[in-house]
Symmetry: C2
Subunit: 381 residues, 2 copies
Amino acid sequence: MKFICTQENLNKALNVVGKIINKNSTLPILNNVLLKTEKGRLKLSSTNLEIGINYLIGGKVESEGEITIPTKLFHNFVSNLPAGNVEIKLREDVLSVKCNGYKTNIKGLDAKEYPLTPKIDVKPIFKINSFILKKALSQVIPAISSSESRIEITGVFMDLSNLDKNIVTLVSTDSYRLAESFINIDKDSVNKDYKDILGNAISIIIPKDTIVELVRNLDDQEDDVEVIISEGQILFNFGNANIISRLIEGKYPDYKQIIPNDFKTIINIDKNEIIKATKITSLFSDISNNSIELKLMAGSKNLEITSETNNLGSNNTKIAVQIEGDNKDINMLHNYKSLIDGLNNISGDKVILKINDDNSPMVLTSDVDKNYTYIIMPTRA
Amino acid sequence: MKFICTQENLNKALNVVGKIINKNSTLPILNNVLLKTEKGRLKLSSTNLEIGINYLIGGKVESEGEITIPTKLFHNFVSNLPAGNVEIKLREDVLSVKCNGYKTNIKGLDAKEYPLTPKIDVKPIFKINSFILKKALSQVIPAISSSESRIEITGVFMDLSNLDKNIVTLVSTDSYRLAESFINIDKDSVNKDYKDILGNAISIIIPKDTIVELVRNLDDQEDDVEVIISEGQILFNFGNANIISRLIEGKYPDYKQIIPNDFKTIINIDKNEIIKATKITSLFSDISNNSIELKLMAGSKNLEITSETNNLGSNNTKIAVQIEGDNKDINMLHNYKSLIDGLNNISGDKVILKINDDNSPMVLTSDVDKNYTYIIMPTRA
C-alpha cells in the first residue's frame, strides 16, 4: 500500500472513526483502525462490534493494500503533524509515514484479523437533511433509558409507519419522562417501495451509542443523509462517512397511551427564566429525590419555583406567566434534571406547560417547533 | 447585616475566594466563606489554614454584620443569578438574598467559629507590575517538586538578596530540572528599609499552592502588586484582593552550582518545530522513562529528535538548526514532559539549547527573554 493525502483530511477521518469506545477487551484488535485502499481512495474503518464507522479519504493511491493501526496512537500522531501532504506506505506489518521532516514507523496488525462489518445492499428507505435529523436525534437523547433490565428502552424508537404521510417519529423514554420528535420528510425523498423493503421492520429501536455517534458526526449543513434498514441493521450514509449499527430487538412500549390529549391548565412561560429559576432552586433541592416544586396559587399570574432543605436553606422564584384554562391551585414536584433536559430542547423563547393535575404527566411544547413534545411525570412528595 | 451590591461584583469576588481547596476535613467550617461588612464594603474571606484570600466588594452597607456561608453552594447560587442588584440580609444564622424575582435563604455558621487570618502590619518590601509577576511565577511553576520527603523544594525560592540591584530571583527545581526567572523591579518600587524589615528572611520559600492561586488571580494588566513579608508569612496585595500565605521553613539547595557557565555547543532552533517534534516523538517513547533522543551528527546542520519502542514503532524528525561552537556528535536522552515544560515557557520564536556533553545539564534560553533560564538533566539510557 502506498497512499498520499493531506494531513487535514487524514485527521478529519480519524476524528470521525477514532472515537468509538471498544467495550470488548478480549479482542484487542478492536483498538485498531482499519486502513484500506478502495477505488482510488483510502477507507478508514473502526467498529466495536455494535457500531461500525467508515470514512473515505480522497488522495493518490500508488499501490493497494490494507492494515490495522492502533487508533489512539495514530490519531494522536496525525493530529500533531504539521499541515501538508502525508505519505503512507506499508512494508509488511509496519506503516511508514512521511510528512515534512517527520519519518515515522508504526507497527500494525494484519487486516485479515479485523472483524468484517456487514454489507447492506438494499436501497435507502428515505433521505433527510443532516441538520434536521441531528436536531431531532438530539432532542430525544436525554430521555433514553440506561436501565439494563429493560433493553428495549435503551435506544430510540424510530416509527416508520407514517412514512406514507412523509413523517418519521422518534421516541425515547426512561419511564419517568418521554420525548417525541417528528421529522417531516420530503415526499420525493421517500422510497416508493419502502413497505416491501422494511417488511416487519416498520418500526425499529436504534441503540443510544449509535444515536450519540450520529449526532457527534452529522454536520449542521443541508447535506442529505440516506437511511438504509435491513435485517436487524441500520446504515446512515452521509458525506464521506457512513455509520452502521445493529438494532435492538424487542417490543417498544405502547407509549402513545401516556400522552394526554386534553389539559385543564396551559401555562405560557419564558424559557430562559424557567431554566435559570430551576437551576438556582435545584441548589436547595432534597438530595434524595432531586425534586423542586412548581406552584401556582388559584387566580395568580405568577408561577413559583421553590425548594427547601433544612440544612441548606430555601429558594423561591416567581415568574410571570400567561394562563389558559383553569387557573386553580397547582403544586407539582418535578425532578429538576429531567425538567432542564426537556426545557433545553425546546425551540424559541417561550415554553408551553400543559397540566392536568398535580400527579399527572406534564407536557412541554413550543409554538415555534410543534414537532417536539416532552412529557414528564411528577415525583411523589 | 444588610448589604446591596451587583451580582457581577459578588460573582467576581467568589471566583477569587471560592476556589481554595480545603484539605482539612476535620474543620468543616473551612468549606465556608466568611462575609463581613468592613468600612462601607463587604469583605469575603476564605482560608485552608495555609493560604488565606480576601476580597473587598464595593456596595451599600445598610447595617453591619458577619456570617459564614457554604462556599460551593453560595458560588453556584450567585453565578446563576441574573445580572443586577443583589440584596443580602442576615437574620440570626440565615442569609436572605433577594435579586429580581428570587428570594433565597441560606443557612450559615457563626463567623466567630471561623479561623482568623493573621494580620501583617509591616510596609511592602517591593511593588511589581501584575503582568510581569504573573509571567515570572508561571515560568517557575512546572519545575516545582512534589516530593513530600524534601519539603524545601515543594515551593518557589524567592531570593531578595539582589534587591539593592533591583532584582528579585525566583527559582524552582525537582532535582531533575531547574527553572530560574529574574524580575526587574523599578528602583522607586523597592522599600529603602527592606533589609531592616526582612532581617534573616532575605530569601524565602513560597508554597506551590500559593503560587498557583496567585497566577490564577493576578490579571494581565499593568496594576501593581505589593509584596509584604513578615514572620513566616507573605502577603500579596492587588486590586480588591489579597492573598496571605505561610512560608515553607527550611534551607533551599545551593542551586547556582549546577548551572553551567560555559558551553561547548550552542544550538539555535525554531521553538514551535521542536515542541511539535517532541510531542510526536513522545508517542513512541519508552513508557518506563518517557525519554526521547536529541541527536546531532558531527558536522550536520539538522537536529534529529527520535524514539523507538519495539511494540509501537518509531519516529525520527529532522529540524534545521544553527550551531555555534563544537559541531560534534550529540546523543542525549531527555524526559519529553520536562523538555516541553521548559520549551513552553520560552518567549519568542527561537530557543537556544546550550550543551556540554551527553550526560551534563542542558540549558534552554531565548534571546527575547534573557531573564528566564531552564536547565534539564539528561536521563540515563
